[in-house]
């Protein structure tokens, strides 16, 4: 660095508040290590197509939305990414906290379970699929911590209380079973259960799907805050384009198992290029 550059840098550090300059040396966002890399992934249920030739990358802190109507292969893809069943073709690589690369299709069950416990989260559309309905709300959160090795009851309970507060569930509901919670509360509990173990990557399948509009707004706001604060990477499957716009940085549009368009969320939604995306966007009812 020359003296002039050093002086410039020093100056921009001191007068950054009200001057229209940006700090030098902004990292190239495309040079960051990739978290999840999907190459040519296809899946068939017997002869029926689930999805075909799917490729994309996901970086740390990024929310990728997968949109398309039901039956377009969104959920199939999400399940493949989370290793819930192996794909018929293609590869999915995940880089863990230690920088170790895992090929999802060839994971042993033990490693897959470890990733699910310590690195990933999975938020189901129906909270009943992601919660244990006969265990208390606090227990649902604590269970996940215990699976990660926590043993101290006091700490677990404190963490459960902390997370109930973060997802805006009153502390006095900690010992109630989720069966007695409203749909919105159940969904927020499922999110707390997933996030308490500080995952790096969360798969979400229509997280706002079954909720009233007013409850949806609250959940969206909460999700957006948490994603930012925790710098989570998220693969978000939704058919709701408004949800996709608010949460996702990038979008993938799927139809009949294939990607028809992808790009910056607002660009895909405001200037769709593919006929199918144009149809999707133009079909939204103006509220």
């Amino acid at each position: 660095m020359t003296a002039a550059q050093a002086a410039e840098r020093l100056c921009s550090a001191t007068c950054v508040a009200r001057s229209a300059s940006i700090p030098d040396g902004t990292p190239d966002p495309d040079a960051e290590p990739i978290l999840l890399s999907v190459r040519g992934v296809s899946h068939y249920y017997g002869a029926r197509l689930g999805c075909r030739d799917i490729s994309f990358e996901l970086w740390p802190g990024e929310v990728l939305g997968i949109v398309g109507e039901s039956g377009s292969g969104k959920s199939t893809l999400l399940n493949l990414l989370a290793g819930r069943f192996p794909s018929s073709a293609g590869s999915i690589h995940y880089r863990d906290r230690e920088g170790v690369l895992h090929e999802i299709n060839s994971l042993t069950e033990a490693v897959r379970r470890r990733l699910l416990r310590t690195e990933w989260g999975f938020v189901h559309q129906n909270p009943r699929d992601g919660l244990r309905m006969r265990v208390s709300g606090g227990g649902n959160i604590g269970e996940r911590l215990m699976a990660c090795g926590s043993r101290h009851y006091g700490n677990i309970r404190r963490a459960a209380l902390d997370w109930l507060a973060r997802v805006e569930i009153a502390a006095d509901r900690i010992d109630d079973r989720p069966l007695s919670y409203s749909g919105g509360m159940q969904q927020r509990l499922q999110i707390a259960r997933n996030l308490v173990s500080s995952p790096r990557l969360v798969f979400m399948d229509e997280p706002t799907g079954g909720l009233d509009v007013s409850v949806q707004a609250k959940l969206l706001d909460l999700l957006r805050q948490l994603v930012r604060q925790l710098r989570l990477s998220v693969v978000l499957v939704t058919h709701d384009l408004a949800v996709a716009r608010l949460l996702a940085h990038r979008l993938i549009v799927m139809r009949r198992g294939e990607i028809v368009e992808s790009g910056l969320s607002d660009q895909v939604l405001d200037d769709p290029q593919h006929a199918y995306t144009q149809l999707l966007v133009s079909s939204i009812l103006q509220g």
């Binding site: 990024e62 706001d221 405001d270 200037d271």
Partner: protein, 242 residues
């Protein structure tokens, strides 16, 4: 020895060459509508360029293309603000987001936000996103909302129920609270009364003085004359075809 800043100042902050944009409407028989083509323009640090022309001439489309909200069909949009120039027309989505974050502010005609977030937080978030701590971000957001005459009792409310003018002022506060090298303004004063219009004019002038380069659409002639250094004329499509 020349300092790094003077080398940067020798180049336009924003340099557009051969930019074309048309829309192909697949759901309406595949007709193509041309918004503009072969457009060149340069924007320098601290100046304000006003886009001018009748409705439908492509002013908003151009502004949205500069922000990469619309995808240009041809041409380049070079942003010379960071350590390396970026072409917004061809950059990856992640690079576009990074340029928007560090270098480009955009005040749209309408506020689009999450239903439940308070006005104060909508504005303050722009500062916390740039590393400011929450307390001082909220303090500064309050100062700016007060300057734009948003009554304090509204600060903790989500702007969904506000009047058009109030929403627009929240939108302006949100766009101006962080000082960007480039600001894109789509009719920022359209639904404002005279006093607020003057405040916004003052804010644009302050941003220019701080080095921000502004591209804007200003229907109000008084506002345009007060802030613009140059006017870029866009002609309607029919006139160009002849």
């Amino acid at each position: 020895m020349r300092s790094a800043s003077s080398t940067i100042a020798d180049k336009p902050v924003l340099s557009v060459r051969g930019l074309s944009k048309s829309f192909t409407l697949h759901t309406q028989g595949g007709i193509t509508i041309e918004a503009f083509s072969g457009m060149d323009l340069d924007l320098w640090k601290g100046e304000c360029l006003a886009l001018h022309g009748p409705s439908g001439a492509g002013k908003s489309t151009l502004l949205r293309s500069l922000y990469a909200n619309y995808k240009p069909c041809a041409g380049s949009i070079l942003v010379n603000c960071g350590s390396r120039p970026v072409d917004m027309a061809t950059a990856s989505p992640r690079t576009v987001l990074s340029v928007r974050h560090s270098a480009m502010g955009y005040v749209s005609q309408f506020l689009r936000v999450i239903p439940r977030v308070s006005s104060l937080d909508i504005v303050a978030e722009q500062l916390t996103a740039h590393g400011e701590d929450e307390r001082s971000a909220r303090e500064k957001a309050g100062e700016l909302l007060a300057r734009l005459r948003i009554p304090k009792r509204l600060w903790e409310l989500a702007p969904a129920t506000f009047s058009g003018g109030e929403q627009q002022r929240v939108n302006i506060a949100r766009g101006f609270i962080h000082c960007y090298p480039v600001m894109l303004l789509d009719e920022p004063t359209a639904s404002l009364d005279a006093a607020n219009r003057e405040t916004v004019v003052a804010m644009i002038k302050e941003a220019k003085a701080a080095g921000t380069a502004v591209v804007g659409i200003f229907h109000d002639e008084t506002v345009r004359c007060a802030v613009a250094d140059r006017v870029y004329e866009l002609r309607p499509r029919d006139a160009r075809a002849e």
